[in-house]
Assembly symmetry: C2
Homo-oligomer: 512 residues x 2
Amino acid sequence: MSGTAVNQGKTRTAISPVREQDFPEWYQQVIKAAELAENSPVRGCMVIRPWGYGLWERMQKHLDQKIKDTGHDNAYFPLFIPLSFLEREAEHVEGFAKECAVVTHHRLEAKDGKLVPAGELEEPLVVRPTSETIVGDCFSRWVESHRDLPLKINQWANVVRWEMRPRLFLRTAEFLWQEGHTAHATEEEAKEETLMILELYRSFVEDVLAVPVIVGEKSPAERFPGAENTYSMEAMMQDRKALQMGTSHYLGQNFSKACKIQFTNKNGELEHAYTTSWGVTTRMIGSVIMVHGDDDGVRLPPRIAAKQVVILPVIPKEELREQVLAYAHKVAEEIRQSSFHGESVLVHVDDRDLRGGEKNWQWIKKGIPLRIEVGPRDMENDAVMLFRRDKAHKDRLSLKREELAQKVPEILQEMQDYYFRQAKAWRSEHIYEDITDLAELETFFTPKNSKKPEIHGGFVRAKWCGEAGTEEELDKLKLAIRCIPIEQSGTQGTCIITGKPATTDVIIAKSY
Amino acid sequence: MSGTAVNQGKTRTAISPVREQDFPEWYQQVIKAAELAENSPVRGCMVIRPWGYGLWERMQKHLDQKIKDTGHDNAYFPLFIPLSFLEREAEHVEGFAKECAVVTHHRLEAKDGKLVPAGELEEPLVVRPTSETIVGDCFSRWVESHRDLPLKINQWANVVRWEMRPRLFLRTAEFLWQEGHTAHATEEEAKEETLMILELYRSFVEDVLAVPVIVGEKSPAERFPGAENTYSMEAMMQDRKALQMGTSHYLGQNFSKACKIQFTNKNGELEHAYTTSWGVTTRMIGSVIMVHGDDDGVRLPPRIAAKQVVILPVIPKEELREQVLAYAHKVAEEIRQSSFHGESVLVHVDDRDLRGGEKNWQWIKKGIPLRIEVGPRDMENDAVMLFRRDKAHKDRLSLKREELAQKVPEILQEMQDYYFRQAKAWRSEHIYEDITDLAELETFFTPKNSKKPEIHGGFVRAKWCGEAGTEEELDKLKLAIRCIPIEQSGTQGTCIITGKPATTDVIIAKSY
């Protein structure tokens, strides 16, 4: 076994600290060990390294197809938004003004031997925190008649929201995302779109990322600035905190009025369109780490791994190198012939000149689903040795070469299902329905009351009366209503905040 | 015929003015008519509309595969670059300082009822005009030993260079591109990479965009700021001006010294790495328009068209609608079964409720390679009517349904080849080798000396002595050495600028 695993009391783990000791620090260390990303010299901006970017590319590929299949076209809008545009929707600018990167100059000039900003702009430009207003401006020109609707556009882009407490993938000043923007002739159609996208996201996140989510509507305090309704998916991390995985907004006529998106309806009357917007971001990568990771690193669900299988040639003597490498490539080629979810299985031969143990541990930390060792003995038996990331790292399975094309996709599917099941079981264990007032809620979320203070709390499912101002009581406890689940029990009860009669189920949790 | 084609003297064309009347205005009108892009309210920033973005997605798909196949990994680096980073390489900052978007504040604040920039940054941030310095900073951390080399990274991103005279696709303040950055242990290997990429670009541009290019090295005055050698591809537009299609730079140790990219070589000594960078941009879309477009709009080479075939249902009576649409979808499905360059043919059924003539002309202007009409008569004959964008718009070919799967890919390939051949013939006609001094050069490039003042000049292939300062003489005539072609004749001659003996062949032209 390699020296890169360290001794943590009884068992050796590749990541230190382990999750139970210090979850936030474990998260940072996993990202470093798996070479997913790193902080850049620009405060709050991250560098996404190839292994992390590969995850994003897989996510893009899956989602882009779904977005196109549901009739949306990709387009690209400017990075910069004139300040006056942002101001058109009052709640919107209020929501984003505190975290905007502002461009004020368009060149640099030498002054006293130092370069300083020069060429001041007449109107400052904001680096897009989101694009409703600039897209709305285009829509106002593209839409004239009801025949131009629905207009369904998607953009893959970078956006910037100045973060005071940045954290890799979860909260970064710059992040990557897709943002959908649609305009419809009727309220009903726009609302349908909002929920259709929510379901598209849910199936993507659950089926591909293997992350179980609760879908629901946001309470008023948590709505997107300028939205009528905001829907989200909420996932539970292994520290039992909630992570919002993506949102879909019904914007009513707020932005169409602000941006003048008008159309002539079938009766020849001028009407404002009904719009939606929706997005998911590189933050999803953080969820994969925090939902599936273990004390040896990341564990990637096969469907989002940029490489699903790595072949590790074992070369005991230099004179066997060529033979073993040829065998490794032959095995790789055979596995590539098999398909997983309609695609060729993604196989990589790691022929780097590096100690076997070190190489092996690098791939464990990176969370590749399958490692396949091939050495002279395997060659003799026309076999390989297979290691699964969801099993103990010494567990091995000898397989005949001829079995691989069939077995590999089967095992990948098994792992995909197992990761989802495991995450769902974890979540079920930590959803609590027996907490009924604020005092109990406070006790429940106080670390010292937990056996494992580093990992405590969970999702509390409770009743809420919905009265204005009540959410502030949760805010004081650093808690929030994560969502009002679409699936409601329909039972009668009492509000966890006011004690008044209430029927609405909500999920309360700490969150990222 | 539709009313959207206008009368231009003898022949009717969809675009007005025609190329010979006013080429720059024709270019703007084509982009508008084909719905490729538009100017945004942000000066110099464009909106890339779905039909234009579809071209970019096809370009990305082709290039991304080639870049990965040659061993490069995608990653993502920050949008913002600290001013101090840019200053690390003297020529580099000099080259970009005059056109930088500068972020100076990180929030907005209400002041006298107006929002103004607040939260001034300690150090201004520049929106990346290119990423050598920020990537170099990462490389300095990722590279320690010769075992970490070569390091071969690519990024797909937006960049900003403040343009005083913006022009859609060709010169925009924000544009999209890929930028490759590699580090190597030896000068030889880095130089090989630079030229390998140049060849990768050439084959992409010629085979996929059907744009013939001359590959060569840039003269010192035209080098990338900070590069030792810059190579480029130069294409001739239909107005005979040159467009630079992409560049590949050998950076020597300039950036590795500026960014401290050092490695321990096999002898245990510390050395600076040798780096390269290279990129192509959304400007390539401009070349496709200006090389292949005609007076009816764009003509898209099939390999980059986001849709290669559109099916246009002809519905003379409402009661036939369902039947015709079903037939149209059946035909579409059958064509999708056939493959073009390893991919399913991209077919779209346009079932919009719009007049047939208008619909037809929209697709002509958009340059889709094939239009297929299906109506009740075609159904009876189990046939379709096919129209090619490279033929007159009334030329039709009746095809049996059963022929389509074979014929469509054949015709697409014929068109791809034809567009390339036609562009190459145009270029050959306008390369001049008989101009031998500055006076002749000036005469040749003076519009009034041409029969068609709007379209004049060409590529002049001449000898150059290479002496410092000589390029300024061309600059006075608004000309430049576009490149020193890799393919040299090896003949003796006299320098077109100084009249001194010279052997180096250069291409001189006006350019975008």
